[in-house]
């Protein structure tokens, strides 16, 4: 009886979405392999001492790629309504902006 009531409460979570395809398990597995590969690359590149500070753009690209794969596929943003992307990316871009601004103010870039 109480179960029924709880189920009714959770029924409000029912989403009869006409929507978006969901990737197959195979796609998810491929994404996982890509993530492993990218991580592996990051670690390999770490041991290239000749790169020196050049490692920064390389790591940036690789980690952004991983970030994007998880967000777009696992978190489904690629297939969902753009509003979700807007809500999340607003926070993300502001976060990146504030981080860089603070770095600049603490003389990371030797321009201020």
């Amino acid at each position: 009886m109480a179960t029924e009531n709880i189920n009714k409460a959770l029924d409000s979570n029912i989403v009869h979405t006409t929507h978006s395809e969901h990737p197959s398990a195979a796609t998810y597995f491929k994404v996982a392999m890509a993530l492993c590969l990218l991580t592996g690359l990051e670690v390999v590149v770490f041991f290239f001492e000749w790169l020196s500070y050049g490692i920064i753009p390389v790591l940036a690209i690789l980690s952004v790629a991983k970030f994007a794969l998880v967000i777009m596929f696992y978190m489904h943003l690629k297939f969902d309504n753009k509003l979700f992307s807007t809500l999340f990316l607003t926070g993300l871009f502001l976060a990146i902006g504030v981080t860089f601004a603070l770095m600049a103010l603490f003389r990371w870039f030797h321009v201020v």
Partner: protein, 608 residues
């Protein structure tokens, strides 16, 4: 009978009485709870101010000791910002937003109740610091390293940290709620560009809040760790830079001041058109200006730090951005003035407040532009010139807007009319009183009177103006007392209010005063901005068929609940635990978890 591990308590159904208020999830009741609690906090903050003014009324006074004085100005600022203005705005968000968008409640009614109870917890934690003999004492902005355990060994700062964290949780919960509500619960036909201005400003404020509060959450964690666990975030001997605190605080703090002012601007944008019988001039421009202010608010924070020694390039950059932010602000002011131009104006009490807002907020804005220039700010920083500025924008701005809103929407939430004559007198007393209190501060500030001093020598030449400021503050007290008298008397025995006493423009005026529990018998179909006005004047085409929202039969209302309160109690106990006793903090955490789990699994009772 249940087979779940947690015994389920049936959802409470108390139609009346104190249990009704304790378990309510009705946005209107929650709005009233917020408003009442916040107004009491406003009075407490006011008492703190009066004590400050008493101490400063004469040179070399010793009514208040320096130690208590430091606590007074810290608590006055903290109380007014976090416990008065923000929750007074929240009272309006809660009561008015669902009505303005044609909804029956907010997206997450229990989360809404939780926000209130968490706010109450934060209120009690902060005020109780006085009772424990240690209110925080380092200013509402608590600069490091004064706040370190070495220089501030008591519990005062811990009360401030914990209080603000709890309030942060309350504000975040409320803002998440309003963002989803405004995006997702609008009446059919109400596109974003048909929403009332107050709803728009609330939306922008909520977005600002959810992005700004996490920054201070982290700053507070860092400060607490330094004080309690010996970390080095602001500990200069380990190579740390106390200026980092200032950066983190003001990255939050500047958006925070826009959080404080935008709702009041929204209220003014509702009052002016109603009492000018004209639509808001430049509706989309005013909204866009609000959005631009919110965005640019992230680019100006170091103008609070011009005298810290950041260097000429940061100072120049922030000077430019700060001056630039005056532009969208000015645009709003012009739009408000043009709204009134050639309007059919009624100088009712709410209208007086809205017009008063324009005057005093503009004065505050002018001194603001003066501070924006980093070189002239070098003279003004940490003087009463700054105190004048922010009181003009916060008292002359936010508080005036809020009082305007209280009068404007009083008939709606109380179902009664207030005494208009008394209201007008009260307005003038408040307007004149605040100007007498704060205008002279420009002069003593320019003359070099520093902030946060508990007394001054008679030779400084500041005595007369300080005495005048104190006199002004007495006038403010009388005015607030008159306001309370008017409100309480009118609520009890004022003339019954019609649905739409002001012949206004937005949906909340299309239903009874006060509204029924379910707000709208039928969710309206909206066709234009100021849809209610258009309907009344027959400006719309074919009336949409009634019940056109697709809702048939019963009205479904959310059910009351205990668990938001229980969760808040857990946080309350946890808060004191973090200050005094870690075992108690664990108990608080456990209660909080019980609250959260029970909330998640709470059954739905049948509607009857």
């Amino acid at each position: 009978m249940t087979t779940l591990p947690i015994p389920m308590i049936k959802r409470p159904l108390h139609p009346t009485g104190i249990w009704n208020w304790i378990t309510t999830i009705d946005h209107k009741k929650i709005g009233i709870l917020y408003g009442a609690t916040a107004f009491i906090n406003f009075l407490i903050g006011g008492i703190e101010a009066i004590l400050i003014r008493a101490q400063l009324s004469g040179s070399n006074a010793d009514i208040i000791t320096p130690e208590v004085y430091n606590q007074l100005f810290t608590m006055h600022g903290t109380t007014m910002i976090f416990l008065a203005i923000m929750p007074l705005s929240a009272a309006f968000f809660n009561y008015i937003i669902p009505l303005q968008i044609g909804a029956r409640d907010v997206a997450f009614p229990r989360l809404n109740a939780f926000s209130y109870w968490a706010f109450l917890a934060g209120t009690i934690i902060l005020h109780s610091s006085w009772l424990f003999g240690e209110a925080p004492n380092s200013g509402w902005f608590s600069y490091a390293p004064l706040t370190s355990i070495a220089y501030n060994p008591g519990h005062g700062m811990d009360f401030w940290i914990v209080g603000l964290q709890v309030l942060g949780i309350a504000s975040l919960a409320a803002s998440f709620n309003f963002i989803v509500t405004i995006i997702n619960m609008r009446a059919p036909g109400m596109s974003l560009m048909k929403m009332p201005l107050f709803t728009w400003m609330t939306f922008i404020t909520a977005i600002l809040l959810v992005l700004a509060f996490p920054v201070i959450t982290v700053a507070l964690i860092e400060l607490m760790f330094d004080r309690s666990f010996g970390t080095n975030f602001f500990f200069a001997p380990a190579g740390a830079d106390p200026v980092l605190w200032q950066h983190l605080f003001w990255v939050f703090g500047h958006p925070e001041v826009y959080i404080l002012i935008l709702p009041a601007m929204g209220i003014v944008s509702e009052i002016l058109p109603t009492f000018s019988k004209k639509p808001l001039f430049g509706y989309s421009t005013v909204i866009l200006a609000g959005a631009i202010i919110a965005f640019m608010g992230w680019l100006v924070w170091s103008h609070h730090m011009f005298t810290v020694g950041l260097g000429p390039i940061p100072n120049s950059v922030f000077t430019i951005t700060t001056m630039a932010i005056a532009i969208p602000t000015g645009i709003k002011i012009f739009n408000w003035i043009f709204t009134m131009w050639k309007g059919s104006i009624t100088f009712s009490t709410p209208m007086l407040y809205a017009i008063g807002f324009i005057v005093t907020f503009t004065i505050g804005g002018i001194s603001g532009v003066m501070h924006a220039m980093s070189s002239s700010d070098a003279q003004q920083q940490d003087t009463y010139f700054i105190v004048a500025h922010f009181h003009y924008v916060l008292f002359g701005g936010a508080i005036m807007g809020i009082f305007g809103g209280l009068y404007y929407w009083f008939p709606k939430f109380a179902g009664r009319m207030f005494n208009e004559k008394m209201g007008k007198i009260q307005f003038w007393l408040l307007f004149i009183g605040q100007n007498i209190t704060f205008f002279p501060m420009h002069f003593v500030g320019m003359d070099g009177m520093p902030r946060r001093i508990y007394t001054y020598s008679s030779e400084m030449g500041w005595t007369a103006l300080n005495a005048l400021e104190t006199a002004g503050s007495i006038l403010v007290v009388i005015s607030v007392a008159l306001f309370l008298y008017n409100i309480v008397k009118s609520w009890r025995s004022g003339e019954k209010a019609p649905d739409d006493p002001w012949d206004a423009r937005t949906l909340e005026w299309s239903i009874s005063s006060p509204p029924p529990e379910y707000n709208f018998k039928e969710i309206p179909e909206v066709q234009t901005v100021d849809d209610w006005w258009a309907k009344k004047r027959g400006l719309l085409g074919e009336q949409a068929p009634s019940g056109g929202s697709g809702e048939k039969g019963e009205i479904h209302l959310p059910q009351p609940s205990f668990w938001p309160l229980v969760t808040a109690i857990g946080i309350f106990i946890g808060g004191y635990g973090l200050i005094y006793s870690y075992p108690a903090a664990i108990v608080g955490l456990a209660i909080m978890m019980i609250g959260v789990y029970s909330w998640s699994f709470e059954p739905v009772n049948d509607p009857d």
